[in-house]
Amino acid sequence: MDFINSIVLLLNYIFVPALSYGSQLALGAIFVSLIYGILRFAYFTAGDLMSFGTMFTILFTWYFQSLGMSLGVLPTALIAIPFGIIVTIFYVLVKDKLVFSYYRFKKSPPVMLAMVSIGTMFVTQAIVRIIIGPFDRRFFDGEKFILKASEFKEMTGLNEGLTIKSTQVITLLVTIVVVSILFWFLNKTKTGKSMRAYSDNEDLALLSGIDPKKVVMITWVIAAILATIGGTLYGLDKSFKPFTYFNNMLPIFAAAIVGGIGNPFGAFLGGYVIAFSEILVTYAYRKFFIYLLPESIEPDSLLQLLSTDYKFAVSFSILVVVLLFRPSGIFKGKIL
């Protein structure tokens, strides 16, 4: 019994939260990785693009709520996501036209484009803060829990409860659907293949008649879709605050690099690597060992490897280690 209790404990405090957080990071990391692979620069606006998409989803959610629309047990934001995506796609395409395309045609070095993306980061951040303000906002409605701790205890008769929030399940399901569609698109369709070819070898791809404009446009569209979905899921699960989204850029980059930047599948797994290690290292294992060990050698300390304050630091340390020993990432991205 104690053994099952300890497993449930880990599931409840580590596995479930890490899985949903990892999915949100993975969505972000995939588009950062795609942009890096195809447009060939580090996209520092990543976090703020997510907050931009989320903001419009929230605005549409409020609008639908004012119309009295709702999905019952599901959050209203799910209907609003497509509209948020459309606005975000429009925004990134305009941004590309006005800002990035110039440097692409001039064949500027990647550093220059990264700098430019810092400029757009400032602008995006300003737009978000001017429209919706810098405050913490919750826009979740509908049923909050799928499984409550007390219900679980009653059902199984265990001491430990297992809580599953509906947002966690939604996050996981949406991520699976979106990522499957994305990989199907990249691997099976002609456009997807041309994108991969372009990423692998630009000159060869151009020679074989691939339209660079189309590839670039589709990359931005995918980026906007992933950013909006990932941002909204994060906001539903936790809350929407522009500053947190900006900070999320850092674990997202960590995930993309750990997975091998330029390699979307690696980035996808990298998201989970980062999320799990962040939570595994900062979790206090005291209760876990109390269940497992006999009473005589029960630990008195928290058995926490690092305090939760260092959550971010963990992922960055992993990143530094990966960069040192395997600069192309765990799953072999490109070293441009």
């Binding site: 400029g119 300003a126 001017i130 305090s307």
Partner: protein, 456 residues
């Protein structure tokens, strides 16, 4: 003279703008803008050495600034004897332990060839070391933080004059840069950017949460100043006389003695803040001028030419027998040390150390905007960028208010859009910075004052 006309003109305009603020808003504000402009200028010089001279991207400026600030605390705060008694020994032991870990790792790296065995050895040393550190430091940290937590709860510093911290801050930042440089300098440009950005976040996390060292988010307030305090000044005879002399014209107009006394008192209070800020501005200008002279000399020395060669063509420089790796490390340390000076200067000016206020937007990306707008590779350009961007950063709010009022003048006072826009004025500065950076990068990619290469 002729060829430096643009520099002189740009600086004259900048100074004029600050003086204009003095006339339109207040002298106190103008002087604090000037002080922060000077601090920003030091930071941009540091970033410019790395980016402009050597082409290294350092997005970790925030970390070095915070370390400089930490130096100010550790140098100037008097030591907390009680805390040292309860936990000092253990903390010193920990420092030795860390040194031991570093040396043993270096030994392993030297002795063994690259293999899995070596990696396991390093991992073992780190894990054992961390557990030992935890065991030794844990109780000590607890007892240190328990010492009078409302006012101290940390080890305190050395109790030296705060001006020393400017040098110590440089050493702190340089030391961190040495470690970071050893780890990360081999990376490609944008990897380096991300790695330094993340490392600076780790530094901030440590400063924020190691309360025994820096009081963490509880902040350290009331740091000593290198210049007189306003309160002291207001009672000094010579200062009151000075203020009276300065404002003789206005004072003579008032005939009533009592009203005159009142007026003088008011003037002394205002004058004291201005005087203090003037002192700060003077100190900061000395630093800026010294650094400018040194960096200018360095830029046009054989060493500067070598750096430019390395920046423009690493392989060719390498082929000419220049040690690229060593020079990169050197310049990374030098630039970071200068940023550390600026961090210590800033904490000295504020008189308080607030680890929670270090955010990458303000301390990393804004500094980069300054370098790029001002002109990378040109020290005068970088300093000007620091001035111009900081000025805009502060004055963005009044400018935005003016523009909003202008464009919405057709709308009513209570119009929701107008009210909303006026409420979000603080965020227009981000918009201005972003658009400014994009415009400069597009139409003047070398900055306001571009790099000048003297051909010999």
């Amino acid at each position: 003279m002729r060829q430096n006309l643009d520099v002189i003109a740009a600086y004259a305009i900048m100074l004029g703008l600050i003086i204009l603020v003095g006339f339109l808003q207040s002298w106190s504000l103008a002087l604090s803008i000037l002080c922060f402009c000077l601090i920003s200028a030091v930071m941009t010089m540091g970033a410019n050495i790395q980016w402009g001279y050597a082409g290294l991207i350092n997005f970790g400026i925030m970390g070095y600034t915070a370390l400089g600030g930490l130096a100010a605390v550790l140098v100037s705060v008097p030591p907390v004897k009680e805390a040292w008694q309860v936990g000092g020994l253990n903390m010193i032991l920990c420092a030795f332990l860390i040194a031991l870990m570093v040396f043993s790792i270096r030994l392993i790296i030297k002795k063994y060839n690259k293999s899995n065995k070596r990696n396991y050895g390093i991992a073992l040393v780190i894990i054992v070391g961390l557990i030992l550190l935890r065991l030794i430091s844990g109780p000590a940290i607890e007892s240190i933080e328990a010492v009078n937590p409302a006012t101290t709860g940390f080890l305190g510093g050395m109790g030296l004059p705060i001006l020393f911290s400017w040098i110590v801050g440089a050493f702190f930042a340089g030391g961190l840069a040495y470690v970071v440089g050893k780890i990360a300098l081999g990376l490609r440009a944008d990897y380096l950017a991300i790695a330094t950005l993340l490392i600076s976040e780790i530094v901030i996390a440590i400063i924020k949460h190691e309360d025994w060292l820096s009081r963490g988010v509880k902040n350290v307030i009331g740091l000593k100043r290198p210049v007189p305090y306003e309160i002291d000044l207001q009672t000094k005879e010579w200062f009151i006389n000075l203020v009276a002399k300065f404002n003789q014209g206005t004072l003579n107009l008032i005939t009533d003695t009592l009203a005159r006394e009142q007026m003088l008192k008011q003037m002394v209070i205002e004058g004291s803040t201005v005087f203090v800020k003037l002192c700060f501005a003077g100190l900061f200008s000395i630093v800026v001028i010294i650094l400018l002279i040194i960096t200018q000399k360095a830029l046009y020395s054989p060493w500067g030419r070598m750096m430019r060669a390395i920046r423009d063509n690493e392989e060719a420089a390498n082929a000419m027998g220049k040690n690229v790796v060593k020079q990169h490390l050197l310049i990374f340390i030098l630039g970071s040390a200068i940023v550390g000076i600026a961090g210590a200067m800033m904490v000295t000016y504020d008189g308080l150390f607030t680890p929670g206020s270090y955010r990458p937007m303000r301390y990393t990306f804004l500094i980069w905007v300054m370098v790029i707008v001002g002109g990378s590779g040109n020290n005068f350009g970088a300093v000007l960028g620091g001035f111009a961007v900081w000025f805009l950063w502060i004055e963005a709010a009044p400018i935005a208010l003016f523009l909003i009022n202008l464009f919405t003048s057709g709308l009513e006072e209570t119009n929701t859009l107008r009210v909303h826009l006026i409420e979000s004025i603080p965020y227009f500065r981000y918009l201005m910075m972003g658009i400014g950076l994009l415009l400069i990068m597009r139409y003047r990619p070398k900055g306001i004052l571009p790099e000048k290469i003297k051909h010999v």
